[in-house]
């Protein structure tokens, strides 16, 4: 299951996409628009900066900003950064894990197929696709 880390991070990225006009968007604004604790977002945003998904600027007029164009991010990249892995099972998540049952496992095929499905789904979605500005009813 996707945790708040991944889900909130994605919403931050969408929020930043929608507010690209401003140079830097303060976390305070994002938090209030998204209805998420600013304190908690600080933790997530730190990881996002060190993963080079966004950049921060201090002081007055500071905040956060995307460091690429929205179409240059995939949802998969964002989620995988925050969640650590998108793999549905331990044996596929950890590359170093060499399962002793590997050659005889009846379920490995199933998990591998599922893993590919997840990967292709999320890496096939661009941030720009899901962060479209909403058209309001007349």
């Amino acid at each position: 299951m996707i945790s708040t880390k991944g889900r909130y991070a994605l919403r931050v990225m969408i929020d930043l996409t929608k507010n690209q006009n401003e140079d830097f968007v303060p976390l305070k604004d994002i938090a209030s628009r998204q209805g998420i604790s600013k304190k908690y977002l600080e933790i997530l945003v730190r990881d996002m900066v060190s993963a080079e998904l966004i950049v921060g600027a201090r002081g007055k007029g500071g905040g956060y900003k995307l460091c690429r164009k929205p179409e240059e991010y995939t949802v998969g990249e964002i989620l995988e950064t925050m969640e650590g892995t998108l793999s549905p099972v331990v044996c596929l998540a950890d590359k170093k894990f060499n399962c002793p049952r590997k050659s005889s496992c009846d379920t490995l095929n199933l998990w591998t197929e599922f893993d590919d499905l997840i990967h292709n789904f999320f890496y096939g979605k661009k941030l720009s696709e899901i962060a479209v500005k909403q058209t309001h009813e007349p």
Copy 2:
């Protein structure tokens, strides 16, 4: 991520499929073949019985048995029983949960699409498909 509950339960179902010739398969045998603690399996198997995936018989000659043909089970049904839900996010997992951001959420579509993908994948797979006896290399 699919926990051991779902993964082990699936392996129990596969084991039972492969040993359909015997009337009832003792948990002891399943545990040793699968290399899983019998004590832990007891807990999982209890849930499987109450969900009517399998039936148990006590006493000597007892054990567990499928209550339908392998082609009448879907992997989705087995996993969903054990995991509680297959939904990737809380807002879709809990039917009673009425998210206040539902109408304005930018990510709901994404999660719904992903949820359908997961559901279709696992409910499209039958137990009989993944529990085929392995053909050995000559």
